[in-house]
């Protein structure tokens, strides 16, 4: 069987590796526009910060692909997918497939702001972007968008000694992950080294060939570099043109087996629209872990083994100026329409909040301490009723098998 994978991100590579693990004979072909071997996008800010060398972000070497017998054709974009002929076209070649896995991923969006074509405008997506940023030798940086990528990039460049301004359109940083209060706390931490501007929008960038000043509604910031972290767009063009169903949020529509509207064509990673584990509503999960899990599911089903995606549940852990912060599940904004109970606690160095809906934990945000939050994450994913976990924690016979619950008690006990 010939299986073609489009994309070399987390999902594409994970799918390839899983296919080979399960089937030593099938033919695996990977096509990608980028020409890098597998790399960890999540580690790119660490490179920016200077903590690890760029080469450490590469996950598979040439010889690994050879060992896994994965045929690669990187560096050429797929132009067309023909479902009836079961083939893909690049500029040079036509690739036939028996099964197809689309892992085309997403790309950062640079809004059409005057001056966004000047030298010094960057995104953080590929190792190439990092190389270019470092070659540019940034001194004064404006990071646009205070999502997790924006925040990580900002603190990474701060670590390099840059003067960094972080501009966020919404009223707080990381608005999709954290609620008001923890967001403000993190902002406070960030502001020890970074200028944070919330509720601001970049309106214009001025300079001759190179960036000189970044203009927002209220301020003019002297800068030589702008890094855009203002959101991404799903790469669904070939899927759309081929006639695959596209969901309301703009991702390729898949079932729980990660199969698209066409039998034998699977999709996984940033490009698909999956569902949230608690609300069961469609969502775009742009996380490394979701991509890998979806790729596993796609690979297994592709070979005829049953597997089912259990739903996306976000988990982000960040080191912000040396302080670990974690956000998991949903935040209040995403839970609009539900009756949410909030448990929170704060002391000098630590803060956490738990969001509960009808006896279930659905979200958790913590600053300063992450130990033991694994139990909470498991409970969010599993949907364990809190009352049940309280009950079993008192069961002497069960506790030895529930060591993982024990951790949650430090968080749950304060709501008693």
């Amino acid at each position: 069987m010939r299986i073609v994978i489009v994309g070399n991100g987390a999902a594409g590579n994970e799918a390839a590796v899983n296919l080979r693990k399960l089937d030593s004979h099938c033919e695996i072909v990977m096509l990608a526009r980028e020409s890098y071997p597998a790399y960890s996008a999540c580690a790119l800010p660490d490179v920016l910060a200077g903590w690890i060398p760029l080469k450490q972000t590469f996950l598979l070497k040439e010889e690994d692909y050879a060992r896994l017998k994965i045929e690669r054709s990187f560096g050429q974009a797929v132009n067309k997918l023909d479902l009836s002929e079961k083939c893909l076209q690049t500029a040079e070649t036509v690739y036939h497939y028996d099964r197809l896995i689309l892992a085309t991923g997403s790309q950062p969006v640079i809004p059409a702001v005057p001056g966004s074509d000047l030298a010094g405008n960057f995104v953080v997506k590929t190792p190439g972007d990092i190389e270019r940023i470092l070659a540019h030798k940034p001194k004064q940086v404006v990071v646009v968008g205070a999502g997790n990528i924006g925040v990580e990039t900002a603190s990474a460049l701060r670590n390099r000694g840059c003067r960094v301004s972080l501009v966020e359109m919404k009223d707080r940083i990381m608005p999709l992950l954290y609620d008001q209060k923890p967001s403000a706390l993190i902002q406070k931490i960030l502001e020890e080294g970074i200028e944070v501007l919330t509720g601001e929008r970049v309106s214009r960038i001025s300079g001759d060939t190179h960036i000189k000043v970044v203009h927002t509604q209220g301020q003019d910031i002297n800068a030589d570099t702008v890094i855009w972290a203002a959101g991404v767009r799903q790469n669904t063009d070939i899927a759309r043109e081929a006639g695959l169903s596209i969901g309301s949020l703009g991702g390729i529509q898949v079932d729980t087996h990660m199969q698209s509207s066409e039998a034998g064509v699977f999709a996984c990673g940033d490009c698909v629209e999956s569902f949230q584990v608690f609300t069961r509503k469609p969502c775009l999960s742009l996380l490394w872990s979701s991509a890998k899990r979806q790729a596993q599911v796609a690979a297994r089903n592709c070979l005829g083994y049953l597997d089912e995606y259990e739903g996306s549940c976000s988990l982000l852990i960040e080191d912000i100026m040396g302080i670990p912060c974690v956000a998991m599940g949903l935040n209040l904004e995403a839970l609009q329409g539900y009756e949410v109970e909030v448990i929170e606690q704060q002391d000098e160095n630590e803060y956490f909040r738990i969001l509960m809906v009808e006896d279930r934990i659905v979200g958790f945000q913590a600053i300063g301490k992450v130990e033991g939050s694994g139990a909470i994450f498991t409970m969010i994913k599993k949907g364990t009723p809190v009352s049940e976990s309280r009950k079993v924690l008192l069961n002497r016979r069960l506790v030895p098998n529930l060591a993982w619950y024990i951790d949650s008690s430090q968080y749950l006990s304060c709501s008693n």
Binding site: N13, E14, K21, L22, A38, S40, C42, A43, D46, W51, I52, Q56, L59, W288, S289, K292, R293, Q296, R300, G304, Y305, L306, D307, L315, I317, D319, P324, V326, M328, V370, E371, G372, S373, G374, A375, F377, T378, L394, R396, V399, P400, A403, W404, I406, D407
Partner: protein, 173 residues
Amino acid sequence: MNSKKMGMRMKRIFVNAEACTGCGLCQLLCSVHKTGQWHPALARIKIKEMPELELNVPVLCLHCSNPPCEVYCVMNLIYKDPNTGYTLRREDKCIGCRACEIACPFSAAVMDPIREVVVNCDLCEGDPLCVSGCPEGALLYMEDSEAGERKRKAAVSLGAWRASRPRDGRGSL
């Protein structure tokens, strides 16, 4: 076809919390063996105290067949060893992001604060020191099938069955 996962016939460490006194010798042995330093915080085995129940529960990597930590590792460092079935990691490449630590339901992945990498129990390549060093027999190293058999035997001797043995014996047919 069934959901094929990477199962493996292997011995694992089973915990008998009732026997654990919380002495921490396992942690010291582990820390010294793995890091050369003598400190419980460096051990891959943790002891959770449950004072309300007067229990100490040793916690360590369970070597799941389909480990969540593997999925959450952003550097793809965690893997199932095809020969032994152990969940292992290439620690030298770890960037210390701690995603695996939170992804593990059992909090069995441990941040090594000295090297700033996350580590887990590797069963000492098949001869776990903590097991041989436990003075109370709270850690048992055996195959799953044996654990199941012991469990069943223990269940039968709970008493309910025994109590109903007939007086006259000839009960079988």
